[in-house]
């Protein structure tokens, strides 16, 4: 990907689906958040 424009998330997912995701580029996923709790550390 060096020298090319940064890929957006959609194209990265497409590349990942094709098995040609470039090294260093990672598909960011949105986790389905059920709940969270702040215990205060």
């Amino acid at each position: 990907m060096n020298g090319s424009r940064p890929a957006n998330a959609t194209s990265l997912l497409l590349l990942a689906g094709l098995g040609i995701l470039p090294t260093g580029a990672v598909a960011q996923v949105e986790l389905d958040r059920l709940w969270s709790h702040d215990t205060g550390g």
Partner: protein
């Protein structure tokens, strides 16, 4: 504080405040869950204290303090026993139902509070642990008798992984050891060139190895070579990577949760949360993520 949550809703079923008893209490070792109880020891050393809570209500079923109290490392189950380490680093077995002492194995080194990485591993009638005297011990769970003790000549800094035939353990000097469970003979070693730290994950054909703040890798079970390694993930803050659904989950101090392919180490997905990722676990299909700052997330991973 200790919390029991409803996994689906996050509602707090019960909680227990340790602070009046031991001051600021932190927990790194996994508790033992029996049918009725949650058995845990805190990291506080003055006083050393442990508790068994009723799973349903949080009521204290029994507690112990002093030399027979388990601290810091995992509490593991062996039949009706709860086994772990005391503040000297000795292996201690209690009756899980009552907390009464059953047996203890003193190591030959100096007094040394254990780290969570030095948690024992149990399989059937045998339990294995590493000690600050540079040795690995195998103990009969019924009697507490030491079956063998083998000096590996290094400071063990990972949990032991044990499947009945082989025992694996890593050291601060980067050495990874494979011992024969039958007699403790060192079968093979592999020098990884970096301090190893945390929990090993033993899979059918490989071993997942955490190697400090910027390395995680997989080696074959014969310890002949590294299958894959990653050094480009940032500052790793998880010392107990979780193997879940053919992925190795780990996380960074910048809040990234990463899923690596068990087969080749490639990143399957990444997700960013707030805080430094520390604890990873799951219940059914819900992934639980804890941060050093104290936030807990319950999530599902999209298919």
């Amino acid at each position: 504080m200790y919390y029991a949550y409803d996994i689906e809703t996050g509602a707090i079923r019960w909680s227990y405040d340790f602070n009046p008893e031991v001051g600021q209490a932190t927990f790194h070792g996994d508790p033992l869950l029996t049918e009725d109880l949650v058995i845990t020891g805190s990291e506080a050393l003055e006083p050393v204290r442990m508790w068994a809570f009723e799973r349903a209500t949080g009521r204290v079923a029994w507690s112990r303090e002093g030399e027979w109290a388990l601290t810091r490392s995992d509490v593991v189950g062996a039949g009706k026993l709860a086994v772990g380490r005391n503040d000297r680093g000795d292996l201690v077995a209690l009756d899980a139902g009552t907390g009464e002492p059953v047996w203890h194995v003193a190591h030959q080194g100096e007094r040394y509070p254990p780290d969570v990485a030095e948690s024992p591993a149990v399989l059937g009638s045998r339990i294995v642990f590493s000690a600050p005297d540079g040795a690995i011990y195998e103990v009969d769970t019924g009697s507490g008798n030491v079956l063998w003790r083998v000096d590996i000549g290094c400071d063990a800094s990972t949990s032991v992984a044990f499947d009945g035939d082989d025992i694996y353990v890593g050291c601060r000097d980067g050495g990874l050891f494979r011992l024969r469970a039958a007699d403790g003979e060192v079968v093979s070693t592999l020098a990884l060139g970096r301090g190893l730290e945390g929990r090993l994950a033993l899979l059918e054909d490989r071993l997942i190895v955490p190697g400090g703040r910027n390395w995680i890798g997989a080696v074959d079970r014969a310890l002949s070579h590294v299958l894959w390694e990653r050094t480009d993930l940032g500052r790793l803050s998880v010392v107990q990577p979780l193997v879940w659904r053919d992925a190795v989950l780990t996380g960074t101090g910048d809040g990234d949760v990463l899923a690596l392919d068990v087969a080749d180490g490639q990143t399957l997905w990444l997700s960013s949360l707030e805080g430094s990722i520390r604890g990873l676990g799951y219940s059914r299909d819900v992934l639980l993520i804890g941060t050093i700052e104290g936030k807990i997330y319950a999530v599902r991973v999209p298919e």
